[in-house]
């Protein structure tokens, strides 16, 4: 369980002046779930992480302590997850690699559209 996650979740919520109840309402989660995440009693799913990150307008990578900027958007090279993606792609054929690159590009475009 990442220590950064519980600290960053609490700090991001506090910085926005939101109570656990308000964050729970905004994400559709139970208030107890927010409390459990912040005390490290429960590890979030990707779905939880996405809802929390969207509600707090930060990136998932920031919540997980993988980057220090609250916002994602420094390009693929700045995203540790994307670096993993490219290591993963080493096992693919040239065609598969191209498809994977295309998927990453499409995801990036989605991210940019969300910011507009």
């Amino acid at each position: 369980m990442s220590k950064e996650f519980k600290d960053r979740l609490r700090n991001a919520r506090d910085a926005r002046g939101m109570s656990q109840l308000e964050l729970a309402n905004k994400t559709g989660m139970q208030p107890a779930a927010i409390s459990h995440f912040e005390t490290g009693q429960r590890a979030p799913s990707f779905e939880n992480l996405r809802k929390l990150a969207d509600a707090l307008t930060v990136s998932i990578d920031y919540l997980l302590g993988r980057i220090d900027e609250e916002q994602h958007g420094q390009g693929l090279a700045a995203a540790p997850r994307a670096q993993q993606l490219f290591r993963h792609a080493e096992k693919l054929t040239e065609d598969g690699f191209s498809q994977l690159e295309l998927m990453a590009k499409m995801l990036r475009e989605r991210e940019e559209q969300k910011k507009k």
Binding site: P44, S45, L49, D54, D61, M103, A104
Partner: protein, 296 residues
């Protein structure tokens, strides 16, 4: 092996997601679910390595699921996407998969990794929720025909459907998946597991020599042709330690998955009573010989 309580939690999670997103009806379409309900990009990819069946990608706050087209079965691809949804929904998978550096899935019951097993369990319930599968089982005559009916109604793979069937049926049935005559795994219904003297077939064991499945095991053309055969044999041909009885054996080639699916079905065991009597006789015999008294 997933603990029973954890398995129930994961099955409950899968059902709750179907209800939450108003998708509790057959066939569940995991690709459409991911795209339309979760705004996840879902795309096929090609790779010569068939042991990488799918992956979950995260970039910023967006997600994508890739599924391999190396195995052409729609049911297998559905299972792969549902498996990746399992990684997406199950608590603590995010931390674990990211901590591992990269994540590539081997869906399809072969992996022994805890996270892969949990994602398989999620996918099984998600594609074949008990409340919707139970009427299919009631409406069919049992065995392989029921498994095919589940696969057709749920648009799931034959293997996944067979495993689902063994989890819920009261019939005495076992499922064996093999590749080139080598066993990859075996699973069985509770009733089958209670057959006295059963020696569980293990991963990497050879298929027994005298069983009908053996005839097809190394015939790659037959395996790739997606056909099935019905035969009969003796249970002791599969499990030498058991009291003998007739079994029905259904064998199916799984196409580009290149595996052989064998479904073994027999009458429910009546051996328990006899064994209890024998154990009782044995106990009295040993008592009379003073074996227990001698321990004092």
């Amino acid at each position: 092996m997933i603990a029973r309580l954890r398995l129930k939690e994961i099955q409950s999670l899968a059902r709750s997601k179907l209800v939450e997103y108003k998708s509790m009806q057959l066939p569940v379409n995991p690709k459409e679910f991911a795209r339309e309900k979760l705004d996840i990009l879902v795309e096929p990819f090609s790779t010569p390595k068939k042991d990488v069946s799918g992956f979950l990608m995260q970039l910023g706050n967006s997600f994508a699921i890739g599924y391999s087209t190396a195995i052409t079965s729609k049911g297998f691809q559905n299972f792969t996407v549902a498996h990746e949804l399992g990684h997406y929904f199950i608590d603590d998978h995010a931390m674990a998969l990211l901590a591992n550096g990269r994540h590539e899935s081997r869906s399809g019951y072969i992996s022994k990794d805890r996270f892969e097993e949990e994602a398989d369990a999620f996918a099984t319930e998600f594609l074949m929720p008990w409340v919707l599968v139970e009427p299919i089982i009631r409406a069919n005559s049992g065995g392989f025909s029921t498994i095919k009916a589940i696969a057709e109604a749920c648009e799931s793979s034959l293997v996944a459907s067979a495993i689902r069937y063994t989890q819920v049926t009261k019939e005495c049935v076992a499922v064996v998946v093999s590749h080139d005559g080598i066993i990859e795994f075996m699973t069985a219904s509770d009733s089958f597991k209670q057959i006295p003297g059963l020696d569980w077939l293990r991963k990497k064991d050879d298929l027994p020599q005298n069983v009908p499945s053996r005839r097809y095991a190394n015939d790659s053309d037959w395996v790739r042709s997606c056909v099935d055969e019905h035969d009969e044999t003796k249970l002791s041909n599969w499990f030498p330690g058991v009291r003998d009885r007739d079994v029905e054996e259904d064998i199916a080639g799984l196409g580009s998955y290149e595996r052989l699916l064998t479904v073994i079905m027999t009458e429910e065991s009546n051996d328990e009573d006899t064994d209890e009597e024998e154990e009782s006789d044995d106990y009295i015999d040993r008592w009379n010989k003073g074996i227990f008294r001698g321990k004092r």
